[in-house]
Amino acid sequence: MSVFVDASTRVLVLGITGHQGTIHTRGMKAFGTQVVAGTSMRKGVPEVEGVPVFESVEDAVKATHPNTACLFVPAPFAKDALFEVADAGIPLAVIITEHIPFHDMLDMLYYASAKGTRILGPNCPGIATPGAAKVGILPNVIFKPGNVGVVSRSGTLTYEIVNNLTENGFGETTCIGLGGDPVPGTTFIDALAGFQKDPETHAIVMVGEIGGVAEEEAAEYIGKHVTKPVVSYVAGQSAPPGKRMGHAGAIITRGKGTAESKVQALSKAGVRVAKFPYEIPGLVRQALKA
């Protein structure tokens, strides 16, 4: 078992003829993912990396029946692309594209939810279920099948943590990168609910960062609904208030979203909180033994 993607995942890559689209189609295929189709605004491209390319999502769906979309389309066109995916009835859209205006994302979120499509992202590294499928840009080499579920708002920090877990003998059920944008399609709570339900996940690693109140809300949810052990790290404990720490998600304003409040809420919910990212494998070992 796993969360959101598994061996039955069939990926449609939107923007497959772009630089990123092409590279990561190769990466997804190398991971063992069934990449069944691509779309492109460029006309007359028959295939990319052995994957057939269509002019519209509707055409791709009719011919290849994907159940997951991976969006690499440039930010100004992402909203329309997501509408096309939702109208075609694809239940999961992983949006890698960064710099999508949050006003667009609000429209996308409410349109997608009316059509029954889940969005993961935007501005996220994607999702990987080792041994089954990867949708996005996560590096292939860091994963190993196992019983730890990982969910994170960060990119490279997550790679680092997963790599560390794998090097320490652990493996992952699914690794979910939520992305750091202010309006995420999928939240910690959605991912935690998935891991709680997944029988193969025995422990959950949740990587948060400063800004917003997503970690506090997740802590409340954990306290009420998650019986599996959760290990967490919150990045940005030393960040100065009011400064953007790399992306729009990581900003502390008006005394809200501080690392302190997040760490406190998580600890209160029974989460083992690491002070530094490299403490995570040790805490997971403890948790699994307990």
Binding site: H103, Y159, A235, R244, M245, G246
Partner: protein, 372 residues
């Protein structure tokens, strides 16, 4: 985040039809005197155009009964410093009678993932200082916009009847149009005043989302609250923050950058500049980052890269070639992990650059070099 000056925000308000006092932006006392003779009636308010808050207490807002007084105030304000920000422009505005001061704003509620309209009968002070129970909130569905019943609700809670009750409904719709139409992160009027029985926006606070600038080129060159170096990095698409210490940190990804900083501070290091290469580990960006770093004059630079998509050896090669071409005026400690880590470290070692696997160990080395 593009933070508009008061007068720039008011230009937006004017375009959308929000009632404003008469005013003029001036750059000298002479310009002020000219404006007061034609566009702006007396008595007037003289307001330094700076982005930082607290102008009232800081002397950046003055009142003038005569053109001479106004001219003098403008002359004093132009070129003065207000919380590190130099005053380049001054807004001279007619002084209107104030019956009541209200607060209203539209921004994003990240928790509910919905736009939120906040309003209060206690305007004119920093909203942070208004107690929670006096700030009313309602949420706006991005597709449905402002609803009629919400207009009635706001008028009632603000104690507005008759003309101002209708005006506040129109104002809510206008704020919503600005919020969506200009891709704003925040549209705030504080104070929104009742003046001679009608609503009037006395101040403006408008910030535009960076990511939307592609469809609002008019905001492209309006300065935010970044330092000149931050501005330069921003233009190159590199997140760059100056913090005052003497260690430069280069990492890739916001999370990893922050984690690096966390470990550094905990070990007694003083981060001076940090620089997020973003989700990429493109060697060209490393070169650009080095040039920016040099301008910030750090004592030691700590490079913490996780090789995800690009391999570590590629990054190491790029780094070495850049350092050979432009020998940097600071010490360097690296920690490179991930794909082809071993090969990468070998390349760095050959070029005489220290390289670690363990983050804590690397940080201790950085701190020891910083102390020398």
């Amino acid at each position: 985040m593009v933070k508009l000056l008061e007068w720039q925000g008011k230009e937006v308000f004017r375009n959308y039809g929000i009632p404003l006092p008469k005013g003029a932006v001036v750059h000298s006392g002479e310009e002020a005197a000219k404006a007061l003779g034609t566009q702006v009636p007396l008595p007037c308010v003289v307001k330094a155009q700076v982005r930082v808050g607290g102008r009232g207490k800081g002397g950046a807002l003055r009142f003038a009964n005569t053109a001479e007084e106004a001219q003098k105030a403008v002359g004093e304000l132009i070129g003065s410093k207000f919380k590190d920000e130099t005053v380049k422009e001054v807004l001279v505005e007619e002084k209107r009678p104030i019956e009541r001061e209200l607060y209203i704003s539209l921004t994003l509620d990240r928790s509910k993932r919905l736009p939120i309209l906040m309003f209060s009968a206690e305007g004119g002070v920093e909203i942070e200082n208004v107690p929670d129970e006096k700030i009313h909130k309602l949420w706006v569905h991005p597709y449905a916009g402002i609803l009629d019943y919400q207009k009635r609700q706001v008028a009632k809670l603000l104690g507005l009847t008759d003309a101002p009750a209708k005006e506040v409904g129109v104002l809510m719709e206008t704020l919503w149009k600005i919020f969506q139409g200009e891709d704003a992160e925040l549209v705030e009027i504080n104070p929104l005043v009742l003046s001679a029985g009608h609503l009037l926006a006395l101040d403006s606070k408008v910030t535009i989302e960076d990511d939307s600038i592609f469809r609002h080129p008019q905001y492209d060159h309006l300065q935010g609250d970044m330092t000149p170096l931050e501005e330069k990095a921003h233009e190159k698409g590199i997140a760059f923050v100056e913090m005052g210490g003497d260690v430069g940190v280069i990492a890739n990804g916001a999370g990893l950058t922050m984690a690096t900083l966390d470990v550094l501070l905990e070990n007694g290091g003083k981060p001076g500049v940090f620089l997020d290469l973003g989700g990429t580990d493109d060697p060209k960006k490393v070169a650009e980052a080095f040039l920016l770093m040099s301008e910030a004059h750090p004592k030691v630079v700590f490079i913490n890269i996780f090789g995800g998509v690009t391999r570590c050896d590629t990054v190491a090669s790029g780094l070495v070639s850049e350092i050979k071409q432009n020998p940097p005026p600071f010490g360097i400690v690296t920690r490179i992990r991930g794909h082809n880590e071993t090969e990468g470290k070998a390349i760095l070692k050959e070029a005489g650059i220290g390289s670690f696997s363990d983050l804590a160990e690397a940080v201790r080395q950085v701190v020891s070099m910083e102390g020398q």
